[in-house]
Amino acid sequence: MKNFSKKEYQRIVSQHEKSPWVKNLIWAFTVGGLICVLGQFILTTAKDMGLSKEDAGCVTSMTLIFLSGLFTGLGLFDRLAKRAGAGTIVPITGFANAIVSPAMEFKNEGFILGVGAKMFVIAGPVIVYGISSSIICGLIYYLLKGGAPL
């Protein structure tokens, strides 16, 4: 076994602490990819059961939201998220987690301003900017098309 001097050891440790980004990247890629594979499985199954493309998409989102809400409640989601980072945040699972997690945490502030309000700490901005940008782009699209039927 090689003997490291204290200085050398600290240098190596700090190097690893400074650049965990490769490890983070691999975790995010793998876990995020696997969540999408699960989504693909639900999507394919729903389509095979005769649902339309839109409905199958809805069922996929709802199932993933349900599962990630449940796993957040059980405390399993955060354990995975600690390692997977963006791999659990970016898929729709992260959106559901962002709703359940603060709602649970602020339960002691009451059911109206605790649970009811804190649910939207992160989900709120997502919905606000998602809808606003879709309306602005939609308006431009509508005008470019000549503003046909009213």
Binding site: W21, N24, L25, W27, A28, F29, T30, G32, G33, L34, I35, C36, G39, Q40, I42, L43, T44, E54, G57, T60, S61, M62, I65, G69, L70, G73, L74, G75, G85, A86, G87, I89, V90, I92, G94, F95, A96, A98, I99, S101, A103, M104, E105, M119, I122, A123, P125, V126, Y129, G130, S133, S134, I135, C137, G138, Y141, Y142, G147, P149, L150
Partner: protein, 118 residues
């Protein structure tokens, strides 16, 4: 097996990009989610995102860019059916199931479970 591989690769890619943003720009997760949704909306209106959905399936729809894609497709569909009114109503119509599910299940699980003391 191809659809699964495609979903894995593109979904993983979108998450990897977000991870790089977190590690190198110190963007918070909330900002990343907002960035992804609006990017999904804009790319869809530019006609660039739906081809990705065709190619990568759930790899393109499950990440939050897919939420933006669903909103934008809803608005485009709404415009086709109702014109100007569809600009406003189309987005949420298309995403009604996802948003309602997220709110209701979120509320339900928050009632059922409590966060663990640290």
């Amino acid at each position: 097996m191809m659809p699964y591989l495609n979903a894995f690769l593109f979904g993983g890619f979108l998450c990897a990009v977000a991870q790089l943003l977190i590690d190198f720009t110190k963007m918070t997760p909330a900002r990343i989610l907002v960035l992804y949704v609006t990017t999904g909306v804009v790319l869809t209106f530019l006609g660039l995102y739906n081809p990705l959905v065709e190619l990568f399936g759930a790899g393109a729809t499950v990440p939050l860019t897919g939420f933006g894609n669903a909103l934008a497709n809803g608005v485009i569909k709404g415009i086709g059916e109702k014109g100007l009114l569809g600009v406003i109503s189309g987005g949420l119509t298309a995403c009604a199931a996802g948003i309602s599910a997220a709110i209701f299940f979120g509320y339900l699980f928050a009632l059922l479970f409590s966060s663990k003391e640290k």
